[in-house]
Symmetry: C2
Subunit: 533 residues, 2 copies
Amino acid sequence: MNSPTTTAVSPILIAGRWRSANGRQTFSATNPATGAKLEGVYPISDWSDCEDSLAAAAAAFTSLRSVPAEQIAAFLTRYADRIEARADELSAKASEETALAVAPRLREVELPRTVNQLRQAALAAVNSSWRLPTIDSKANIRSYLAPLGPVIVFGPNNFPLAFNGVAGGDFAAAIAAGNPVIAKAHPLHPGTSRLLAEEALGAIQDSGVPSATVQMLYHLDPHDGERLVADRRVGAIGFTGGKTSGLKLKAAADRVGKPIYLELSSINPVIVLPGAIEERAEQIASDFSASCLMAAGQFCTSPGLLLLIASPESDHLIRQIADKFAATTPGPLLSADVANTLRTNIARLRESGAELLIGDAAAALPGHRHANTLLRITGQQFLDQPETFQTEVFGNASMVVVAKDLAEAVHVIEHFEGALTGSIYSQTTGRDDADYAALADLLRWRVGRLLNDKMPTGVAVSPAMNHGGPFPATGHPHFTSVGIPASLRRFTMLQCFDNVRADRLPAVLQDKSPVSQPWRLIDGLLTQGDVSQ
Amino acid sequence: MNSPTTTAVSPILIAGRWRSANGRQTFSATNPATGAKLEGVYPISDWSDCEDSLAAAAAAFTSLRSVPAEQIAAFLTRYADRIEARADELSAKASEETALAVAPRLREVELPRTVNQLRQAALAAVNSSWRLPTIDSKANIRSYLAPLGPVIVFGPNNFPLAFNGVAGGDFAAAIAAGNPVIAKAHPLHPGTSRLLAEEALGAIQDSGVPSATVQMLYHLDPHDGERLVADRRVGAIGFTGGKTSGLKLKAAADRVGKPIYLELSSINPVIVLPGAIEERAEQIASDFSASCLMAAGQFCTSPGLLLLIASPESDHLIRQIADKFAATTPGPLLSADVANTLRTNIARLRESGAELLIGDAAAALPGHRHANTLLRITGQQFLDQPETFQTEVFGNASMVVVAKDLAEAVHVIEHFEGALTGSIYSQTTGRDDADYAALADLLRWRVGRLLNDKMPTGVAVSPAMNHGGPFPATGHPHFTSVGIPASLRRFTMLQCFDNVRADRLPAVLQDKSPVSQPWRLIDGLLTQGDVSQ
């Protein structure tokens, strides 16, 4: 009874069962590699579906508060196992819906990453060190980071598994912190989301966590989305996607003080200093092109801007990059919309004065593709229209900014908006050190992750990762959406217990340390031990 | 040259010197105890003053990045010393401007608290454990919480020292985290703020930190305030004050993604269960009255709502409280505005059906005073108009809600808005345990600090304190404005260094642990040691 029935319209997952949506409108997915409409009809939910999911999530949150962390961890682990057991089918479906390659991308990289995140989150659920438990035994005041309520997760189009609303990083973080999730699947890959949600429900049943710990809707009217994030029963929101819809949701959540964690867009500047070009131009051209063109540039960390200082060597590097752009087959884009927006944005940059070095033409290949595109402007052009020239161009296009000298490069960086990443390549033996010193500190405060001699597209699931940064890259520069346990902190509230009787305290704040021995700040000292008597 | 000159209009502190404001409008303070206009004319700054302060703060932030933490700590310590050296004058001036008592309140409690906060912040500036330094040595990815830029601090009317924009908790936290501060003094106590800022400038000179590390404006047009918080050079904002102006600043900051930490208003419910009344009604009546009436109820944590379950014993407790309200001399209010708003809010509650038990009359005493006021409604009345009956009534007034039974009390709690605190009194030997279990979890998720058998008005400066809570009490439930080091985290951004060369890393992220030996999460293990080779 728990598998979706094969009615014409796919059911939604609400309160622990698959049931028909109340919304009457439907949509289907398309295979972007062929343009063919895919089997499967999915509902656009109306407000009553949202209402049902909120009521069930609120009840699940009440139940979850007394579920042991070990059981939440068991759910996450079991879910990871189930995704692995269905890996081939999931990868095939995701490829069909996104035109991303099964191998190596989906089956060998993104799915293992997804499973890895769920397992790391399971470990974090049990060990509460990341909750920063703090005890003042003299005053009998104790505090820690507790869950905060149902989390709405909006997944993006470009990672059908690792950032999927019902299985990805935000999902894993919200659940591990102790919150139920209402996932809003991305409408470009509903079939993948459905397969994942089937396994999530299976894992709920295997582990015995509350049945509405995970719910999923496929699609919503934007107005209902804004109402959903502002509902009083919601704890927080995670959103990865486009700036226009993200900022509307942010405004709705901000009005009622709901924490909303956004990952919106990022230009990810790469700066290559003269000595590095002299030393290893060929390697840099190769790395930059690969980073720009991998998965047709559809990464949040794809480098959209290359900043160079004018010289014959810089011109040569640009030609090498252009050659590689020309020699690389353009990859398929996620949808006709993505392709149209890419073309529109390139046109806008060209109309604003950017010189076309290569590309911006139709690609005579199946699916939605556009020729790999490289544009060029001067530092002065950038300074004249910094906002225009920081339009995120999502897809296989990038732009070179050639500053006339170091001073102009400094001014360009001073006009950078907040970004997820910023990379600087410099010579290995010190020739660029003075230039680096002049630029790096300026860049540092404008990006979440500063890289040396490395392209930004790899986002390791490392505890030290920051996939975040100043607005408009994200909504709050204090938090990261990748990296466990740090990403869990987004979905918590600080709870203080002042003079609360010992037997009423959560286990992690009692005098006796829990079995998992979390690090606790007790009377100013960090320790895994008990409160001394 | 650095002391204010005695021109008619007080100068503002910009870029390390006292200089005339460009704004032409002025204001003066009033002694609220007597209604007499005080000496001293202060400027209302125009945008050009804001612009100057922003430019200087941005430059100071660039300089501060290379100032050793020990030097920032020296500034904070020196400032604390200087405040102590001028304690009598500061307390006298603050009392003159606020009608708060010199002793014990200002001289013996608030000033020592202010100094204590600055000294604790100095310690936190040097030891970086709270920055959560995290190192993944295999991947060579490292991250920590870094400062984020100039912080605008708006201080409230009710704590002229401990929450003053130029000396209080937000100030200390922002500076210790490494950010310059632009303080917007509260216009009810400009003279106190001026004395403090004089000592801040002295401490800047003593310690050699950048001269614009601390700047101060007295007053602003609200439109300029909204422009100020949204300026691109701003890192974050701390605001403690009224809901109307706070929400306008929040909207302005939210639109451009600037973190704004607000403390707006809070009803601070106190619940007294039947067994506790039976056991110690007299003590509870005494504690509740004292908590409501101390400093004329002008605390953010003043209990504005007392929830009881109907019984003859509850009625008796209410009478005891009313008697204490009657027997206590009403304290002076901070201003005519505060008194007017208090009267208006009480009138609104009465018009909405609240029964007057005592008070709501003029008090024939000097200054702005209103009789201690106690109102009463039923649980059903609360449920019919939950928003109206959660109007924060700032001042010496409170309201009792009498639920007909436990089930109705549960419904009342379910309608509580986010608050800073929630207190539950229960019998010490277990009689109320079932009732506690039915109520406490509901209350827990609606408040930042849960108390047992204790009134909320004491806010200890403890590392375990949470002076925060869900909206509308604050703007973000993850953060606290009191408690060091936690309060510092508000004024930071997460910075990641990916493959950054060893000599370019901040000291706290290098392989070798800094002398202060902060706790660092290295390859999954928390340690004070070096990265192992």
